[in-house]
Amino acid sequence: MKLNLKSKKILVVEDHAIIREAIKHMLYGLDARNITDTSSGAQAIIAMKNRAFDIVICDYHLGVGKNGQQVLEEARHSKLLPAHATFIMVTVEQQQSVVLSALDNKPDEYLTKPFNAQQLLSRLQRCSKRKHYFADIEQEIQDENIYQAIKLCDEKLELGDKQMRLQLLRIRAELAIETGDLDYAQRTYQQVLKERELTWARLGLGIIAFKRGHLEQAVGYFQQLLQINPSALDAYDWLTKAHESLRETQLALETVELAVNLSPQAILRQQKLATLASQAACWETAQKAYKAAIKLGKNSVHKSSRDFSGLAKIYLKTNATAQAQQLLDELKFQFVNEPDAELQAALLSIDLFKKTGQITLAQRAYEDALVLSDQFGRLTPKETRLQMAKTCFINNNYPDAENIIDELIKCNIDNNTFLEEIKAMCSTFNHETFPANVIYNTKQALININNNGVKLFKEGKIKEAISTLENASKIMPDNQTIILNLAKICVHQLKSTKLTKQKLTKVKDYIDKAIQLEIPLDKISHLQAEITKLNHEFMSHR
């Protein structure tokens, strides 16, 4: 297929003026007429906000400010690139593609410097051919018509195009996973591996084992893959996840450390390393990773207040109060109107003032924290809330501490690790009977509500069953059992009533919530399959 560049809107991002001109010159030579060029990442983002480009050719090294990867991340994050657009990353060394690889955002192609017009054209043509071939499937995936996408995949596979076969099988397996058909995906990966040892197929087997909850088996697959291909960064990420799920913090830490050594520029991995190292009390590693994350965060959409508060906590632990103060100031300055950041800053201030003997100021900071917790506490992560409860205990404010703990337990009644954390914290204040009682009562109440809901359901009083569980869900929004039963009953109801977009969306939300709460996939996958099927029915009858 001949690629016509004449009508394409092209953006060239390159800080080196001579090379920028050379690339433009090549493009003009290839009949391109609509070229915009910028010399920095920030300008590139502005250009993309003003205009939807078809092709972006972006150098990785852009001097100061954002690098090419950060430009790509922001463009995807803020949806500045149309679905059909091609993003080509220019690097100086081919192996860099591995090094630069971020967790999720990959460019369509890498191009190694120096390159000539013919090489650029051949790369653009290959991209455009591939995009064109998969465009209809991509569209269905975007519209969430998974079954339609699967149908298109199967039709294309039927045609027996040898060049596209493996790519089709790869997408087909991923779609199967999405509909919960893990067996199909597994068979596909095994079949591919019989022909050829390919990274994505072996990784797929590991992901399936992970989703089935066979964590040790998953670890085995990921380790096997890393032995064959030590630079498969995806495998490190999944292996870290599997070790974490097995509560092997030390092994998870070692794994993510290896990945960070391979890709020091990937901010999400640095953040993961910092968190895991803090959990394992490896302060030196944590400090280094937090510093790296803060530095990378300057130009990244993944900039996070947690990196600042995390590092400040380590400074406080090592009595480096001046550095802690400086970070605290930056935290307040850089994250305005962010509940978690504000509450973290208030909590840090208390500790800092205490360390420096400023008792009155510490008291005032504590009062600020109380007000913030009251107003926005529910919007902050559970770890921040637990820390707030602890602070209340320290200040002899048992009623507020108990209120927070009561809520935390109700919302996290299925999260045994976290419940243990709560109990451990309370026991340092000789207050362990309180959480134990709340946990017992909550579990009892839960059993009652659930039994009641299931009983109503069995009696055919489906509406009543749903409203019982919905009320319970309002009190315990993060409770796994309630969400799962709600989803089950709602799916059942959907099958016997007239479908509406609204009803479908509601059930989808419950299932999404169940996934978000990390309920094992084998308990959800059949519900997912049902809902995708119902959605398909609904769309085709419209």
Partner: protein, 228 residues
């Protein structure tokens, strides 16, 4: 002031950074050559061909240096994926295009469009390009690069119409490579590099290899790369 000599233990970073620097210079050089060519819309002086050739050669040598160093230091791993074999040849053709435009040499490619190959594409393209670059030097005016299937291997073949390889390059085996062969010229290093890369491509007990002879259908040297 004390100087931190630990820098020398950080050689991989220093090498990578130097290569980065030189590559940027080569890119700039390429851009400048392209600009200069604009001044000769009618006939480009023959010196341009030599400059392009040398720039290409520097780039290939630099890449070989870095890859061989990384293999030696166990810092290297292949990035295997599936590719259309003729796409690889197209890439080589594209890489050589500026140089070919300035010379009377005819470079043709041949192969079945359905033939697939599993390899580290960047590496294989660079390796073949290096050999084609050398062939341009020794051929009269024709080079043929082709790809075909032979048993369990995908074969890439480079043939020219020159005088053929000298005896010491026939049936080339990397294990017999001496320092003398390597320093005797670019051809030796190029062959050594491709054979190392070929050996890294393994499937089960089969591993990639190279063969050199003078049985070119064009009458000169023939080089073949076998990938499992």
């Amino acid at each position: 002031m004390t100087i931190d000599h630990s820098a020398t233990s950080n050689f991989p970073a220093i090498l990578a950074s130097s290569v980065h620097d030189i590559k940027n210079s080569l890119s700039t050089l390429g851009a400048l050559i392209a600009q200069l060519k604009e001044h000769y819309p009618e006939a480009t002086p023959p010196e341009f061909r030599q400059v392009e050739f040398e720039a290409n050669r520097m780039n290939n040598s630099l890449m070989q240096l870095l890859v061989l160093y990384k293999i030696d230091a166990s810092l290297f791993s292949l990035n295997i994926d599936e590719y259309v074999a003729t796409d690889i040849l197209e890439e080589v053709l594209a890489q050589q295009s500026t140089l070919l435009a300035l010379s009377p040499i005819q470079l043709n490619i041949a192969g079945d469009a359905d033939l697939l190959c599993y390899c580290d594409q960047t590496l294989i393209v660079n390796a073949i390009s290096t050999l084609v670059n050398n062939a341009q030097r020794y051929c009269k005016n024709k080079i043929l690069i082709s790809t075909y299937q032979e048993q369990n291997y995908t074969v890439f073949s480079i043939e020219d119409d020159g005088k053929g390889y000298p005896d010491n390059f026939i049936a080339f085996s990397p294990s017999q490579t001496t320092l003398l062969d390597l320093t005797s010229g670019n051809t030796g290093l190029g062959l050594f590099f491709v054979s190392v890369i070929a050996e890294l491509h393994k499937v089960g007990n089969n591993c990639g290899y190279i063969q050199t002879d003078n049985q070119s259908q064009l009458g000169g040297a023939r080089f073949r790369l076998f990938l499992p």
